[in-house]
Subunit: 360 residues, 2 copies
Amino acid sequence: MEPRTCQVELGENSYEIRIGEGVLDSAGAEIRSIYTGKKALVLTDENVYALYGGRLQAALAGVGIRPVFKIVPPGEGHKTMQTLAEILSALAGGGFTREELLIAFGGGVPGDMGGFAAACYMRGIRYVQIPTTLLAQVDSSVGGKTGVDLPEGKNLAGAFWQPRLVLADTDVLATLDDRQFASGMAEVIKYGCIFSKELFGLLEEYPDREKLQKKLPDVICRCCELKRDVVQRDEKETGERMLLNFGHTFGHAIEKLGGYETHTHGEGVAMGMVLAAHTGERLGLHGPKEAERIAALCQSFGLPVKPPYPVTEIPKLAAIDKKAEADGVKLILLNGLGKAGVYPMPLPRFEALMQEVEQG
Amino acid sequence: MEPRTCQVELGENSYEIRIGEGVLDSAGAEIRSIYTGKKALVLTDENVYALYGGRLQAALAGVGIRPVFKIVPPGEGHKTMQTLAEILSALAGGGFTREELLIAFGGGVPGDMGGFAAACYMRGIRYVQIPTTLLAQVDSSVGGKTGVDLPEGKNLAGAFWQPRLVLADTDVLATLDDRQFASGMAEVIKYGCIFSKELFGLLEEYPDREKLQKKLPDVICRCCELKRDVVQRDEKETGERMLLNFGHTFGHAIEKLGGYETHTHGEGVAMGMVLAAHTGERLGLHGPKEAERIAALCQSFGLPVKPPYPVTEIPKLAAIDKKAEADGVKLILLNGLGKAGVYPMPLPRFEALMQEVEQG
């Protein structure tokens, strides 16, 4: 099957996302279409390198691009300024010029760090994203957000820097374990909830990993298009783009209650989306069906839908998380499936609502 | 005297450079005109803090801005990724939000690092430059170049990030020692050489530090205007902006021959400008007067004009420095005082010319 293409229009920073089975093996020709140089620094992690490093190397060699691999240990714990400095030194030590290329190859960690290194090296070089997790394919392919964590918090250092090309191979998702795959699905379901009843309905038609497999290129492409449209309408992240946080305010609080080790990001988001739907129901924004359908769809992909904590603990944590806003928390709630809005929520009202939800 | 103002027009990134005696003491009101917040992180070094920290603190307190000082050791040796990480943690640890401000207060090192930290923190916050050396006032106030050094080379990591305001106090230059002042003067003389016969003539009228003192606001403002005009015409640094490297290709080679400890940057540039003028003379681009007048002006400000090395050693070092260009070195040479051009120079021709210059 021919890969799908999602075109991201950002003037001179426009680029294509190519999505499909085996896109990794045609990475050479794809990259050659935007780069005439002879070498590329490939940032990846040990796991991705072991599984797919050889295939990327072969694809690049086929068009005369010599990869210089910079391989970092896997995991968010290495998404640091220290690792960033190492990547920059790998570029400098490898004699990379301003005209040469970086390829970020892996999940969110190599993606975010590789993009940031490209933004910083010699005040900015070109880079290509090859995301290898479902979460990275639907979430990081659009928006140009790059960065690293500081000891004080996640993603506190970074840059907006657009890739020249994104290659999302749906075959490589086969080596994700079920929990990693489900974590990405929570974001996919989110796009359906806030922007597209049709996407949500499609997921309900193919309600597990095996059934969805053949539909993945279409589904990932649709998510990228939906995110692209909102990012293009709201580049500065002031208004509509906030809708992408649906489920996340609740989800972050749940992740925090679990000490960040108990739940994956997607698991937090899944529980958060269901809670947001219960909240919208209490406020009369929609009926009871929304929470039921979101919960059923999440569960069919193996995602939890009920936090193992009293939900009354959530408002205070959410308020701390968003401390910049003095007048309470801005909740993203649905106005029915496929439509969402921003609802400012003073803390006492939020707490009363969670008490109602807790009591069922 | 009222401060001079140089307006830098960059669309939504436009800003003013305010230049004059005592501008530091009016920093509060000046900053209040572009910032409504209550605190600011002030990046500075131990020397600048000891001399002027109290005055800046008082100026900010006068308008209700509380400074949080991050004080780093002085010197280029601390312009590293490690120090950058510390500055970012100071911002995060101090609870700074995306809407708050960084002030870079000092010479080129706090200026470059502070600007880079502002570019990176939360993917970009506002910053104000308060340059306290002559070199920083004429060189770093315009262009938006920020960055740190890597072990592999200078300024290899960074970003283009524009300040919201630049405050250049000519009084604080009084505490520069003569050698530091002269180093900045080399860049001032450079602007005259390449862009303005009038500026060059003015400097000849006030040919030492004491005589020039009262003219400094005008002279610094003129340098900023000249740099602004070329940067606005050539934002991407492909053509005309290269002229700013007059004296620098020779100068870097001389600095390298001295092991980077013997000569200041400005001393290298001064010797480099005189050598460039001798080269232009050999090529018939202008007569012998240019080299004589540049040498006399440099010497009157205490700058050396003749490198203590055989100049025949320069071409190979310059070629290594500019290794990206296969077909030799692009020399910036004068077409008379106040006018410059780019002259591609194959290595053998360059070597032959230096042999002629060496033999006088």
